[in-house]
C-alpha cells in the first residue's frame, strides 16, 4: 500500500470512534464489532504498508506531503512517512491493539458503558497510529497530545471512582509537564531549522544539511544546539514513557480497566516516548557522543534499576507490572542511548507482546477472583486457571529473560551495547542488577498468585476461562512472546538490519564470538539465578502469605517500607512541587492585591484626569473655536447665497465686472 494511502490506518479507528460516539449506549455488541473490525482492518493495511517497504529493496523511505494551510508566503506542510521504523511500529501497535480490542470484547462483556469505552479506545488507537506515521514533528506533537487526552479518558473511564478520576488527572498533568519540554524543543527546532518536516527532499530537519547545521551551532557555553533541543525532547519522552522523575503517574494509572492498562503501558503510549527518540535519533547523534545520548543512557539505566527495586515491594498485581514496565522502558532508553534505535525498537517490540500478555493475564485473574487485585489475597490459581497460568508463565519467563525467549534476546542486545558503551561502566552494572531484580519480583508475583493455597474467597468458576474471545488473544500474544526473539538474534540480526536498511546476513560466527558468548552466559545466569533465589525465598512451603509478612519485609523492614512506598516520591513531590505552586499562587494573589491593585487604580485615576483635561480642552478650545469657524462659514455661505438673488441684472453685473477685471488684468500683464 503506497504512502499516499497511509492515512487510512489512523483514519479507520478514528472513523470507528466517531461512529461509536454516535451509537446509543445499548448497541454494545455492534460497538465492539465496529471497533475490533476497524482495528484489524488497520492492522491489515499496516501489513500491506510493511510489504511495500520490503519490496523496495534498499533502504526505502517514501514520504507524502501536502500543504495544510498557507499563511502568506509561508506554507505549513504536513505529511506521512513510510520507512522501516514506521512499518515496525505500525505492525506492533495495530497487532497488539487489535488483540487487546478482541480481549476487551470478552473482558467488558458486562460493562454497560462499553460503547463509550470502545469509542475512547479506538480514538486512542487512531491517535497512536497517527503519531507513528507523522512525517512532521508538529503532526506528531498533535497526535502526542491526543494520545495524552485519550489516556486521560481511558484511565478515568470509571470516573465515578475518585481514585480513577484523580489518577487520570495526575497522569494528564504529569505527562503534560513533560510535554512542555517537548513543545519548547519543537518550537526551538522549528525556529532554527525553519521546518518541522522530518524528510522533505533534503530540507527536512532530520536530513543531513539541517542536522549538520544544528550540530554546528552552539549556544550557552559550547552545548550543541541539537543536543539542547534533543534534551528538551527527551524531557517530553520521559514524561510520556514514565522515566524516573516523571514516572509517578504510571502506577496510579492502573485504576483504569486492564485492557486500557495493557494497551497504554505495554504497547502504545509508553512506547511513544521511545519511538519519538528513535525517530529523532539523527538529531541526537548530530554531534559525536553528544550529551543527549549520555543523558538518555543515564536516565534509562537509573530508571531501570530504581523501578526494579520498587517492584519488589509492591503488593498490587497490576502495580508490580506497572513498575516492571517502567524498568523495561528504562532498558529501552539505555539501549537507545548506547546501541541506537534498532536495539531499543527490538526490545520495545518484544516487550509490547509479553507485557500485553501479562496484563491481559492479570486482567483475567482479577476478573476471575472478583476484582481482587492484592496478591496477598490471591493464590493457588495454578490448578483453578491452568490456561491462564500457562500463558502467564510464558509471559513471566519472557520478561525475566529466560534463555531463548524474546525478552532474553532483546535484553542481551541491550547488555551488549551497554557493555560496549565506553563513556562509563555504571549503566551496564545497573542494567545487570536490574535484570536480576526483574527475575526476582516476577517469580515473587508468580508464587504469590499461582502457587500455595487459594486465599481468594470470591473465586467464580463461572468465568469461562476458555472463552474464545479472551483465550485467542492470550494465545496469540504468547506465541509472539516466544517467537519474536528469533528476529533479532546476534547471529541473524534480521530486525536490526531491516531497521538500518541493510540486508541481513546469517553469521553464526557472531553468535559464538568471544564477547557475545560471555554475555549470553551472563544473562542466562542472571535470569535463572534470580528465579531460583526468588523461589527459595517465597516457596509456599517456606512462606505463607496469608499469615506471614513478606520475607523481605521481615529481613529488611525499613528498606522494604521505602520500597513499598515507592521511596515516598509521591509524598516528596506533594510536599515540594504541589505545596510550592500553592505557595506561589498565594504569593501572587497577595502581590496582586497589594501592589498591582493600587497601581491599576492609580493608572485609572491618571487616565481619568487626562480625560477630564481633554474634555475641558475640547469644550473650551475646540468646540468654541470650531463653532465660531462654523458660524463664520455659515454666515459666509448665507452672504454668498444672497448674491444669487434671482435678479438677472445682478448676474450680468457680475459678468460685466469680471470682464472688466479680465481686461484690466490683461492690460497690466501686457504692460509688464
Amino acid at each position: 500500500m503506497a504512502v499516499e494511502w497511509l492515512w487510512l490506518i489512523p483514519a479507520l479507528p478514528l472513523l470507528a470512534a466517531g461512529v461509536l460516539t454516535l451509537l446509543p449506549t445499548t448497541a454494545g455488541r455492534a460497538a465492539s464489532f465496529v471497533a475490533t473490525g476497524s482495528m484489524f482492518l488497520s492492522f491489515v493495511f499496516s501489513g500491506l504498508a510493511w510489504l511495500t517497504t520490503l519490496d523496495q529493496g534498499e533502504f526505502s523511505r517514501t514520504t507524502f506531503d501536502f500543504v495544510w494551510f498557507k499563511t502568506g508566503t509561508a506554507a505549513l506542510k504536513i505529511g506521512w512517512v513510510l520507512d522501516p521504523l514506521t512499518a515496525v511500529m505500525l505492525l506492533t501497535v495495530s497487532l497488539v491493539g487489535s488483540l487487546i480490542f478482541l480481549f476487551s470484547v470478552g473482558y467488558l462483556a458486562r460493562e454497560e458503558r462499553r460503547v463509550t469505552f470502545f469509542a475512547h479506545l479506538s480514538f486512542f488507537a487512531a491517535a497512536m497510529l497517527g503519531l507513528v506515521i507523522a512525517n512532521n514533528l508538529l503532526l506528531l506533537f498533535v497526535c502526542w497530545e491526543l494520545v495524552g487526552l485519550a489516556s486521560w479518558l481511558l484511565i478515568g473511564f470509571w470516573f465515578r471512582k475518585p481514585e480513577a478520576a484523580a489518577a487520570a488527572r495526575k497522569a494528564f498533568v504529569v505527562t503534560h509537564i513533560g510535554d512542555m519540554g517537548f513543545f519548547v524543543g519543537m518550537i526551538w527546532l522549528a525556529s532554527v531549522a525553519g521546518t518541522l518536516q522530518f524528510f522533505d527532499a533534503g530540507a527536512g530537519c532530520l536530513e543531513e544539511t539541517v542536522v549538520h547545521s544544528l550540530g554546528a551551532a552552539t549556544i550557552l557555553g559550547g552545548l550543541a544546539l541539537s543536543t539542547v533541543i534533543t534534551l528538551l525532547v527527551l524531557w517530553g519522552a520521559m514524561g510520556k514513557s514514565g522515566q524516573v522523575p516523571l514516572h509517578v503517574w504510571l502506577p496510579d494509572a492502573m485504576e483504569g480497566p486492564t485492557p486500557v492498562s495493557a494497551l497504554i503501558h505495554a504497547a502504545a503510549m509508553v512506547a511513544a516516548g521511545v519511538y519519538l527518540l528513535a525517530r529523532l535519533f539523527p538529531l541526537l547523534d548530530a554531534v559525536p557522543d553528544s550529551g543527549s545520548l549520555v543523558a538518555v543512557t543515564w536516565v534509562g539505566s537509573l530508571t531501570a534499576f530504581f523501578a526494579a527495586l520498587v517492584a519488589l515491594g509492591q503488593t498490587d498485581l497490576k502495580r508490580i507490572l506497572a513498575w516492571s514496565t517502567i524498568s523495561q522502558l528504562g532498558y529501552m532508553m539505555l539501549g537507545l542511548g548506547t546501541g541506537g534505535p534498532a536495539v531499543a525498537m527490538f526490545h520495545l517490540v518484544t516487550h509490547a507482546f509479553f507485557k500485553a500478555l501479562l496484563f491481559l493475564g492479570a486482567g483475567s485473574v482479577i476478573q476471575a477472583c472478583g476484582h481482587e487485585q492484592d496478591i496477598r489475597r490471591l493464590g493457588g490459581l495454578r490448578r483453578r486457571m491452568p490456561f491462564t497460568f500457562g500463558v502467564y508463565a510464558i509471559g513471566m519467563l519472557a520478561l525475566a529473560g529466560f534463555p531463548f525467549l524474546s525478552g532474553f534476546w532483546s535484553k542481551e542486545a541491550i547488555f551488549h551495547s551497554a557493555q560496549v558503551w565506553e563513556v562509563s561502566r555504571i549503566p551496564f552494572v545497573l542494567a545487570v542488577a536490574g535484570a536480576l531484580l526483574t527475575a526476582v519480583y516476577m517469580t515473587r508475583q508468580m508464587v504469590y498468585v499461582f502457587f500455595g493455597e487459594h486465599r481468594n474467597s470470591s473465586f467464580q468458576k463461572s468465568f469461562s476461562e476458555r472463552a474464545v474471545v479472551t483465550a485467542v488473544p492470550l494465545a496469540a500474544l504468547a506465541c509472539g512472546a516466544i517467537t519474536l526473539g528469533f528476529l533479532g538474534t546476534q547471529a541473524f540480526p534480521l530486525f536490526q538490519e531491516y531497521l538500518e536498511g541493510e540486508t541481513a546476513v546469517l553469521a553464526w560466527g557472531d553468535l559464538i564470538g568471544w564477547g557475545s558468548l560471555g554475555l549470553i552466559a551472563l544473562s542466562t545466569l542472571l535470569s535463572v539465578g534470580g528465579m531460583a533465589l526468588a523461589w527459595g525465598i517465597y516457596r509456599p512451603s517456606q512462606f505463607d502469605p496469608a499469615r506471614q509478612q513478606d520475607p523481605l519485609n521481615r529481613w529488611f523492614p525499613r528498606i522494604f517500607r521505602w520500597l513499598e512506598n515507592q521511596f515516598f516520591l509521591d509524598e516528596w513531590y506533594r510536599q515540594t512541587v504541589v505545596r510550592g505552586t500553592c505557595l506561589a499562587g498565594r504569593g501572587a494573589e497577595v502581590l496582586d492585591r497589594l501592589i498591582w491593585g493600587p497601581v491599576v487604580r492609580l493608572c485609572a485615576a491618571l487616565v481619568q484626569t487626562v480625560a477630564w483635561c481633554s474634555r475641558l480642552a475640547d469644550e473650551q478650545l475646540v468646540n468654541r473655536g470650531f463653532d465660531r469657524v462654523c458660524r463664520a462659514v455659515r454666515q459666509g455661505a448665507a452672504w454668498c447665497s444672497e448674491r444669487q438673488n434671482g435678479r438677472v441684472q445682478t448676474y450680468i453685473k457680475y459678468v460685466g465686472a469680471s470682464l472688466a477685471l479680465v481686461v484690466w488684468v490683461l492690460i497690466l500683464i501686457d504692460r509688464s
Partner: protein, 164 residues
C-alpha cells in the same frame, strides 16, 4: 473723423442714450430703431450696403415690431409711471459698464491699429457674396436655417396661450 461719420455717430449715440434714459418703453424701442438706422448708415459707409439694408430689413421691420408687440402684450395692469425706470443697484451697473468701457478704450488706444483703409475696387458685390455663401459657407447657411426654424417654433410654443 470725417463730418458724416460724426453725424452718424451722433445719431447712433443719441439713440443709444435715449434707450437708456427714456421713461416710456415704447419710446426706448423707437430710439432703438434710430440706433439701427445709424448702424445701417455706418455699414454702408464701410462698403457693405447689402448688410446695411439687410440690417434695416431684419431689425427695423421685423425685430422692432416684434419687440413692440411684446411691449404691448405685456403692458401690466397699473400704469408704470410711478415706479422709477431704473432697477435697484443701477449705480453698480453703471460702474461696471464704465469700467468695461474704460478697459476697451484703453485697449483701442494702446493697440497698434492705425492702419489706413485698404482700397476696395467694388463694394461687396452681392454676386460674390452669394457665391461665397453658396460655396464656402453653405453649411452655416443650412444650420442658420435650421436654427431659425427651431427658434421660431420654440418662440411660438413658449408664447402660445395654452389652448386649455
Amino acid at each position: 473723423m470725417s463730418l458724416t461719420f460724426a453725424i452718424i455717430a451722433a445719431i447712433v449715440l443719441t439713440g443709444a442714450i435715449g434707450l437708456s434714459v427714456l421713461r416710456k418703453t415704447v419710446h426706448c424701442v423707437l430710439s432703438l430703431t434710430i440706433v439701427f438706422f445709424g448702424l445701417a448708415m455706418l455699414y454702408i459707409r464701410l462698403d457693405a450696403p447689402f448688410l446695411g439694408f439687410a440690417l434695416v430689413l431684419i431689425y427695423v421691420s421685423a425685430v422692432t415690431i416684434l419687440i413692440l408687440f411684446t411691449v404691448l402684450l405685456t403692458r401690466n395692469r397699473e400704469i408704470e409711471t410711478d415706479v422709477s425706470p431704473y432697477s435697484r443697484g443701477s449705480i453698480a451697473g453703471l460702474i461696471v459698464g464704465g469700467s468695461v468701457f474704460a478697459g476697451l478704450i484703453w485697449m483701442i488706444y494702446r493697440a497698434p491699429l492705425s492702419r489706413g483703409i485698404t482700397e476696395l475696387e467694388s463694394p461687396a458685390s452681392v454676386k460674390s457674396l452669394g457665391e461665397r455663401l453658396m460655396t464656402e459657407y453653405v453649411l452655416p447657411l443650412e444650420v442658420i436655417a435650421l436654427l431659425l426654424t427651431a427658434a421660431m417654433i420654440g418662440a411660438v410654443i413658449v408664447a402660445m396661450k395654452d389652448p386649455g
